[in-house]
């Protein structure tokens, strides 16, 4: 794992984006999702999920890569870890699953950086907090966001049902309505980094 306060960001144009087969959401509704979460909790205990913050730069400003589902909902690439799986390995697996081309040779060598945020879900609800509330001893989910250091050239294959957006940090900042508390606070989490905006 690379640990550094400096993040190199390359222009969006230095990356190639292709398409691959659709990757459907496992749940059709929030209720379904929560129900499935409950089932998993009973089986495996607290859910740990990992997500990656992938950054590019445009106009000398960092942009974060988000997957857009439908027309409104954006999420970070990532997902649930298997039982006992290492966070970094799990994140690499998820990133590849979401963004890498199917052929093994074309999979990016993901450089996972440090964890920039941890969010906790105290109940089987959609709400998460950046801390575990003090009266909760058994949170239902722990979500960790890791910064991912992209190299200069990468090939991403995006599932057909999703769109990959590069969203500038200023767009996320203070925009909870559209992006939710986790994503809209990423600019704060990243503010400690020094971005090396590399022009192509």
């Amino acid at each position: 794992m690379v640990s550094s306060a400096v993040v190199n960001t390359y222009p969006l144009s230095s990356y190639t984006f292709g398409a691959k087969e659709p990757k459907m959401e496992k749940d059709t509704s929030v209720a379904d999702r929560l129900a499935r979460m409950k089932v998993n909790y009973m089986k495996e205990g607290m859910r740990t999920s990992v997500e990656g913050v992938l950054l590019v730069q445009e106009h000398n400003h960092p942009h974060i890569l988000l997957l857009q589902i439908g027309n409104t909902f954006c999420k970070l690439p990532g997902g649930r870890l298997k039982l006992g799986e290492n966070e970094i390995e799990g994140l690499k697996r998820k990133l590849s699953s979401k963004l890498a081309a199917n052929s093994p040779g074309l999979e990016p060598d993901w450089q996972i950086g440090e964890c920039v945020a941890t969010w906790w879900r105290p109940n089987f609800e959609t709400i998460m907090y950046p801390y575990c509330p003090p009266h909760i001893t058994k949170p239902k989910e722990c979500k960790k966001l890791f910064i991912v250091h992209l190299s200069e050239k990468e090939y991403f294959a995006v599932p057909k049902n999703l769109k990959l957006l590069a969203v500038p940090l200023f767009e996320l900042y203070d925009n909870v309505q559209r992006y939710g508390p986790v994503i809209s606070t990423i600019p704060q989490q990243l503010s400690r980094f020094q971005f090396n905006m590399i022009q192509s």
Partner: protein, 624 residues
């Protein structure tokens, strides 16, 4: 859109829950055997027999709502003729709402004619001994009487008024849970007639446990709950914006007997030094819990300063005894609710005061020392306040209603709010449904008024902590007056969330926070501040934070009083604070906080870092 909406709009989330409830209802509708059957009959029986049928017979939705309304409605949909009269007899066979939920379709069938009587007797036989089945009934009887006026002929109408309002999800959830849990059947009255009596066991498996500290964890609760039986679920009610516990939770047991035993055995149990309140789950109790919470959060600021005087404490203590009548009334809120609230005013207080009040009193005394004063002091303060000028008409007010919780805040009264009034203190929209309900009200909850602030070492004084700043001298009730000027503004500020005095930044933060609740965190610093503010407003705790904030805001007072307090030897509390890493200095809150935090976070430890990312950021900036 959807992303945040669900979080931002509780209703949405709740709606989802409702959906689940419906599922349960349907399930149970099919199972009209055994318990279910009994229930049906009970429902049917209610009608003829007396009771207030709680609307069990209707579409699932209605059932749910019925459940919520508990005592209110007997929504009998297709009850033909007289059978469905909603008979609210005070004796009220109140069938636990749960029943309502059940056999919607069967209800009507059963509710017909004389057969019901027969059934009732059957039920009686079937009912387990000792079950009087009034589960939510406790609260019912009185309500019923009132409701009956409205009810007649009401069919399937969901009585909206009772439900709503109170705390968000609460009523719904309990209702839903109650339905499936059936058991009510047992309750069915062993005697047909005397359903009035408060159930010995009413088959209710759902309880509310309130008056908890926000830091009392679910694990602690479960440890104690499991002594009474197998716990099916514990669900805490928390503030959506911050995740902080509101201090009450819903507990479901598998076995109604366990629930009943727990209600009796655990009521008043000290969790982290604070006596809890256990009540059967119904719409009223949840409202009470919610109201209590609201009262506390709003009441705290204003009450805090006043209550601090040692002299008040004495007064408070004596008040405890003096106002036995009042206490009875007040505690009724506390203990009485557990018993089903309004139903029998006399019953509650009888039991309540002993537990609540006494517990509170002693607890408060003791706790002050350790500095958990928040909880402890408040109670004392609340009582102490009685002595104050604002107290005025309090005693008079208290008694008649009997609904006043022990923690009733005289300050409110002083404000001219009067008994019901939280009108004075501008808590727009925060006025609790039960005006006078301020049960544990102030037990030392000083969201923004940090007891430590005033009284560093609560320990020695026990209750006296609220000497408050500079009050050392004139510990007279006058304290309230002279300081009112200074503190009053503060209280109001707190209460209203404005920074009427000295807390400009707080106000602005509040403003920000309010406005931007949907917007989430604005910045790390703001976030922290907001968290602080929220704690300040709501929670007892964060004494440390409050402490910092207070210092920041009231330099003058701080400096003077702190020193004085220290001299007074109230060192313990401050020491505790220091140990906790929150410096009692005038440094900027952030820097002090970040310092303390960053010390705790090893730089290279990524795992622990996430939470401290913001703090880490500060640190890095410094170090880099």
């Amino acid at each position: 859109m959807q992303y945040h909406r669900v979080g931002a709009i509780p209703a949405l989330a709740e709606e989802e829950m409702i959906g689940e409830d419906d599922e349960y209802d349907d399930l149970y509708n099919d199972v009209n055997v055994g318990e279910g059957f009994l229930q049906l009959q009970q429902s049917g029986a209610q009608i003829p027999a007396l009771g207030v049928g709680k609307g069990g017979i209707q579409a699932p939705k209605a059932n749910v709502s019925n459940a919520r309304n508990e005592a209110r409605v007997v929504q009998v949909v297709n009850v033909p003729g007289a059978a469905n009269e909603q008979i609210y007899s005070s004796a009220g066979i109140q069938f636990p709402e749960q029943k309502c939920g059940l056999p919607a379709d069967r209800g009507p069938e059963q509710i017909v004619g004389a057969a019901q009587r027969g059934r009732i007797s059957e039920m009686i036989h079937k009912s387990q001994a000792g079950h009087l089945g009034f589960q939510g009934s406790v609260t019912m009887p009185q309500k019923i009487a009132a409701d009956s006026n409205n009810m007649p002929g009401k069919v399937a109408g969901e009585p909206s008024p009772p439900i709503v309002g109170s705390s968000r999800v609460v009523p719904e959830i309990p209702a839903s849970r109650m339905n499936p849990s059936a058991n009510m059947n047992g309750n069915c009255m062993v005697d047909n007639e005397n359903l009035i009596r408060p159930a010995v066991e009413n088959g209710n498996t759902m309880l509310f446990v309130g008056e908890l500290h926000w830091w009392t964890t679910d694990a602690e609760l479960e440890t104690v709950l499991s002594q009474y039986g197998t716990v099916k679920e514990i669900k805490f009610f928390d503030e959506r914006a911050s995740g902080k516990s509101k201090g009450y939770c819903q507990v479901e047991f598998y076995d109604p007997a366990a629930a009943f035993a727990c209600k009796d055995g655990m009521n008043g149990h000290l969790f982290n030094g604070r006596a809890c309140v256990v009540a059967f789950a119904n719409a009223q109790t949840i409202k009470q819990m919610g109201a209590s919470y609201m009262n506390k959060t709003h009441a705290q600021a204003p009450s805090q300063p006043q209550g601090r005087r040692p002299m008040n404490d004495g007064a408070g203590r004596s008040n405890g005894t003096n106002y036995s009548g009042g206490d009875a009334g007040r505690n009724f809120g506390r203990g009485g609710w557990g018993r089903g609230g309004q139903q029998m005013p006399n019953r509650g207080p009888a039991a309540g005061p002993g537990r609540g009040r006494g517990a509170m009193g002693t607890k408060n005394m003791i706790e002050n020392a350790p500095g958990s004063g928040g909880g402890a002091g408040g109670g004392a303060y609340g009582q102490g306040l009685m002595g104050g000028p604002a107290f005025g008409g309090l005693p008079g007010m208290m008694n008649p209603h009997g609904m006043m919780g022990p923690g009733f805040d005289p300050a409110f009264m002083g404000r001219g709010a009067g008994y019901g009034g939280f009108s004075g203190p501008a808590f727009p929209g925060m006025i609790p449904p039960f005006p006078a309900v301020n049960p544990m009200g102030l037990p030392g909850l000083a969201p923004h008024v940090n007891p430590a602030f005033f009284n560093r070492g609560m320990a020695p004084n026990g209750v006296g902590m609220m000497v408050a700043t500079g009050m050392d001298g004139p510990h007279s009730g006058m304290w309230n007056n002279p300081n009112m000027g200074g503190w009053g503004g503060e209280e109001q500020g707190r209460g209203t969330r404005e920074s009427s005095y000295g807390c400009e930044d707080n106000a602005s933060e509040y403003g920000c926070r309010e406005a931007s609740l949907d917007k989430g965190v604005r910045s790390s610093a703001a976030t922290r501040e907001k968290e602080r503010n929220s704690e300040r407003d709501w929670s007892v705790y964060s004494e440390k934070r409050h402490h910092d904030e207070w210092e920041h805001d009231r330099d003058r007072y701080d400096r003077e009083h702190k020193y004085r307090e220290e001299k007074d030897g109230h060192q313990d509390y401050r020491k505790i604070e220091r140990e906790l890493g929150y410096e009692d200095d005038r440094d900027k809150e952030q820097s002090s906080r970040s310092r303390s935090r960053s010390q705790a976070v090893p730089k290279e430890d990524h795992r622990s870092r996430p939470r401290d990312a913001d703090y880490g950021k500060w640190r890095r900036i410094q170090s880099e």
